[in-house]
């Protein structure tokens, strides 16, 4: 029996709580459990995480003729240089890139970073040394195909995410008590960025008040990067203009116990994001018992599944407000939506399924030459 080929997992940044980092760590567990000698290499490594610096990657890969799994999450010069120099088979794990247009006029730094990411993605899509692409969703696979990637080399596997940590985490007791006294009608979890639909969330809350005479209590969780200050100021300005200050709670970035408390004290998950490569919070919401109301942008529809309440991308703010109102009022509808979301997640995103897809991709890439 032949020894499985070694695997080098390469990514720009390995830090705790980051979706790309979690996926890379999960992938390393999967490949190691399948008998592959596995090593993670990253540009930036947070203390205590099991990885080596990117500078050591080429030597390790060439000595072992290892498979290279490259996590494409941003434009990265050191990563590009490695891919140009290696003779080993390359597998691209695509995490999608937020379109740069969202950052126009918001942040020069983010605009440049997303443009660099888009350029790397365009080049990799037609790079003949890439044996296989593992896209995080059918939406991402479609984008890669439209950039020129060969459909025969495209595979789809959801990001690996330590859901069990969230499931077993104890919620922050103080916050749980406070929030339970004033539960949110709708929760959104996602970093504070222009593609995430925060302005839409506020408009929907205001429309809800116009149509139903009561303000929608929103809890908005997510990291507020100081470099996107202008965007955050605009959102706060809109919140004041719409007279929603008392019904919208911006929590900022939260740790796992606070995140758990936020999910447990909210009645619905509302997602008005305009671009998602997968949207892990939708899976977290399903796992922790929240039905979702969402707009069909990017991968959102395929992540929630056909039985979920995914409104067309063209739906107006009134329709979203009505969808929320109906779902909040009707416990049977909420239960049915949640059951559909959970069944879809079980059927498509279980760790075993994702692991199987990843190992198939590695086996195929290892067999086809190199």
């Amino acid at each position: 029996m032949t020894q499985p080929r070694p695997v080098a997992i390469v990514l720009p940044s390995l830090v705790p709580g980051d979706a790309t980092g979690n996926d890379a760590l999960g992938m390393a567990e999967v490949t190691a459990a399948a008998g592959h000698e596995t090593q993670i290499f990253a540009g930036r490594i947070a203390a205590g995480l099991p990885a080596d610096p990117i500078a050591a990657a080429l030597d390790w890969i060439e000595r072992r003729s290892a498979l290279v799994v490259y996590h494409l999450a941003s434009g990265w010069a050191a990563g590009r240089a490695l891919l140009e120099r290696t003779r080993s088979p390359i597998i691209v794990r695509d995490h999608n890139i937020t379109p740069s247009r969202f950052f126009l006029g918001v942040s020069e730094e983010f605009l440049a970073a997303t443009q660099a990411g888009e350029a790397d993605r365009r080049h990799l899509a037609v790079n003949c040394h890439v044996r296989c692409f593992i896209a995080c969703s059918p939406f991402s696979a479609g984008e890669l195909q439209s950039l020129g990637a060969d459909p025969a080399r495209l595979r789809i596997a959801a990001p690996l995410h330590p859901l069990d940590q969230l499931e077993t985490a104890a919620p922050d007791p103080r916050r749980l008590r406070l929030w339970a006294e004033d539960p949110a009608d709708a929760l959104f979890v996602g970093r504070f960025a222009p593609n995430k639909g925060h302005l839409r969330l506020l408009r929907v809350a205001a429309r809800h008040r116009e149509l139903f005479g009561e303000a929608l209590r929103l809890r908005i969780v997510g990291r507020q990067d100081p470099r996107l200050h202008r965007w955050q100021a605009l959102v706060r300005q809109e919140c004041r203009r719409l007279d929603l200050d008392s019904s919208v709670d911006f929590t900022g970035e939260v740790d796992l116990p606070l995140l758990k408390a936020a999910y447990l004290t909210s009645r619905l998950f509302l997602c008005c994001s305009e671009h998602e490569g997968f949207c892990l919070p939708l899976i977290e919401a399903s796992t922790l018992g929240l039905a979702a109301v969402a707009l069909d942008h990017g991968a959102i529809g395929s992540t929630l599944g056909p039985g979920a309440l995914v409104l067309p991308a063209t739906a107006d703010d009134d329709e979203i407000a009505v969808a929320l109102h109906r779902t909040l009022r009707d416990a049977r509808l909420r239960d049915a939506l949640l059951a559909a979301q959970r069944a879809h997640a079980r059927q498509h995103f279980s760790r075993a399924l994702v692991a199987e897809e990843i190992l198939k991709a590695l086996a195929e890439a290892g067999e086809t030459g190199g």
């Binding site: 930036r44 408009r203 149509l211 470099r227 200050h229 605009l234 490569g277 009134d318």
Partner: protein, 153 residues
């Protein structure tokens, strides 16, 4: 109202549900009249609003707005410094006298409130300074070359 969407038997006809939602939204909007909320901002309007939203640099707690707000609060921190007056022409003098007597009677409580307000403001200024340090350290960490913006979702 939800029966047509088939929720009763634990399966949902999403298309029917969406159709019902569209219909209900139209009906409710007709009843409520035109919305004053506004709709999706076009890119030009968004850019104008962003420019109005201030400079690209974070407005941390040491910003002009924050300092001005603290100064305004400090101006009003001592309830005893409130100027007494009366808008009445005929009874102005007795009313003013009554107010002065009341203020003197309440002075122990007002002094305590003034001390409390002052301590609160000092704590707020201190928190602002600490927040400045944290934000600067965070900005420094996040602008290191290996930790650029996150271009993915």
């Amino acid at each position: 109202m939800l029966d047509r969407a088939g929720v009763g038997d634990d399966t949902i006809d999403i298309e029917t549900l969406l159709e019902e939602i569209r219909h209900e939204a139209e009906t409710l909007r007709q009843r409520a009249g035109a919305s004053r909320v506004g709709s999706n901002l076009d890119p030009a309007e968004l850019l104008r609003k962003l420019a109005d939203a201030g400079p690209a640099r974070p407005a941390h707690s040491g910003s002009l707005d924050h300092d001005q707000a603290i100064a305004r609060m400090r101006d009003n921190a001592d309830p005893q410094s409130t100027a007494l007056g009366s808008h009445r022409k005929v009874f102005a003098s007795p009313i003013l006298l009554a107010k002065r007597i009341l203020r003197r009677l309440l002075s122990p409580f007002l002094e305590q409130q003034a001390r409390f307000n002052g301590a609160n403001l000092d704590a707020l200024v201190d928190l602002g300074r600490r927040l400045d340090v944290l934000e600067q350290s965070l900005a420094h960490q996040r602008t290191r070359p290996a930790d650029g913006p996150e271009p993915r979702d």
